[in-house]
Homo-oligomer: 195 residues x 2
Amino acid sequence: MDNKSLILNNIGKWINLTEAEADHFTSLLKPVTAKRKELILEAGEICRYSYFVTSGCLRGYTIDANGFEHVLNFAAPNWWIADMYSLLSQRPGNTYIQALEPTSTLALSKDAQERLYREIPAFERFFRIITENSLVSFQQRLLDNLSLTAEERYQNFCKRYAGLTDSIPAKQVASYIGVTPEFLSKMKHKLLYKK
Amino acid sequence: MDNKSLILNNIGKWINLTEAEADHFTSLLKPVTAKRKELILEAGEICRYSYFVTSGCLRGYTIDANGFEHVLNFAAPNWWIADMYSLLSQRPGNTYIQALEPTSTLALSKDAQERLYREIPAFERFFRIITENSLVSFQQRLLDNLSLTAEERYQNFCKRYAGLTDSIPAKQVASYIGVTPEFLSKMKHKLLYKK
DNA sequence: CGTCTATTTGAATGTACTCAAAAGCGGTGG
DNA sequence: CCACCGCTTTTGAGTACATTCAAATAGACG
C-alpha cells in the first residue's frame, strides 16, 4: 500500500470522503523525510505541520530546566504527531520531534488543515475524534504516573508498545515512563531474575 | 447573567450560532444540580453526559488498586467535565465526578451531542477546539509531573487555580499534584517559614 | 454542641535518584 | 569488512525526596 492509501485508510476509519475530496486532501500533503536522529521540529520554533508517519518512528520530547529529556510520545507508522501547543497557538513551542530511525511522513500544514475545515467539514470531525482519543490516552497516562510504581508503568509500556520495543532505546523508554536509565536497567534485571 | 447565557457566551468564544441554533442548543440542555459531596457519576457507570458547570465546583477522580484517590480535574464555573473515556466509548468508566460544594450544571447528553454534530456542524468545531485545549493542558501537566519537584508543582497549582484555592480542600490539592496530604502540609509549612 | 473528617507534626522507611565507573553495542570511517 | 570511537547500558554505593504509620490538633457541618 502506498503512503497516500495508508493515510486515506487511516482517515476512512472515522469519516467518509468522496474520491474528489480524497484527491483534494492528498494534494495538500507534503512528503517529509528524516534521517536517523534528525530533528524535524526544535524547541523555540513554531510548529507549522501535523506529521503522519508512514514508515520509521518519531518521538516528541522536551528538555527541562535541568537538561533532562522527557518523552511525550512516540509515533510509529499510522500515527500523527505535532507540538499541539505550538501548532494551535502558532507560538514558539518547547517540543523537539526527532526521528529514531529513517522515517517518512506526510505533513499537513496548519494552513492546509484550516482550509480543509472550511472546504470539507468532515475533517472537523476527523480531527475532533483523533484529538479525543489522544486526550483519553494522556489522561490515562497521567493517572498511571500518579498511581503506579515504576515497575508497573514499565510493564504497561511493554504491553502497549510491544511492536516498538526494539526500535526504541532503553534510555528513551525510561524517559517516557518517568525514571532514570539507571533505574530502568535495574528494574529489567530484577524482572529477569527475581520474578 | 443566567445559565443559558453563560454557556452561550462560552461557546460564542469559538463559534457563531444563529439565534435559532442557539435556542435549539439550549433546548437540549438538562439542568443537573448536586449537593456538596454528591456524586453525579460513579466508577462502573457509563458516562452519558458532558456537564457544563454554571456555579459551584466539581472534581473528577479515580480510585486506584490501593484505595487512593487521584484527582484528574477540577471544574469551576464555565468549565466542561465528563469521563471522556466512558463518554466516547459508552462503556463503564473508572471515574467519579463529585460536587465539592453545591453545584449547578447544564448537562448535554451524548445523544444530544451527536445530534448537534449532524444538525449544526459548527459544534464539531467547538468540541474539537475545547478538546484540543484540554489535550494541551494534560500534556503540560504530564510533563510537569515528570520534570518538576512536588514543591514546584504546588506553586504552579496555586498560580493556575488561584481563584479556587479556598473551595478546594488541601487533601484534594495534594491528590491533584500527586503527593500525600501529609507531605503537602509539610511543604506549606516550609514555604511559609523558611522562604 | 458534638462528631466526624481534615490537617498538622514527628519518626522511621522506601523508592527512585545521583554520581562514578566499567562493560557493551552500534554506526561510521578507513 | 573490520576496527575504532562514542553513546548506551549496566552495576554499585551513597543519598534524597516523598511515603508510611501513628497520634495530636484543628476545623466544619449538621
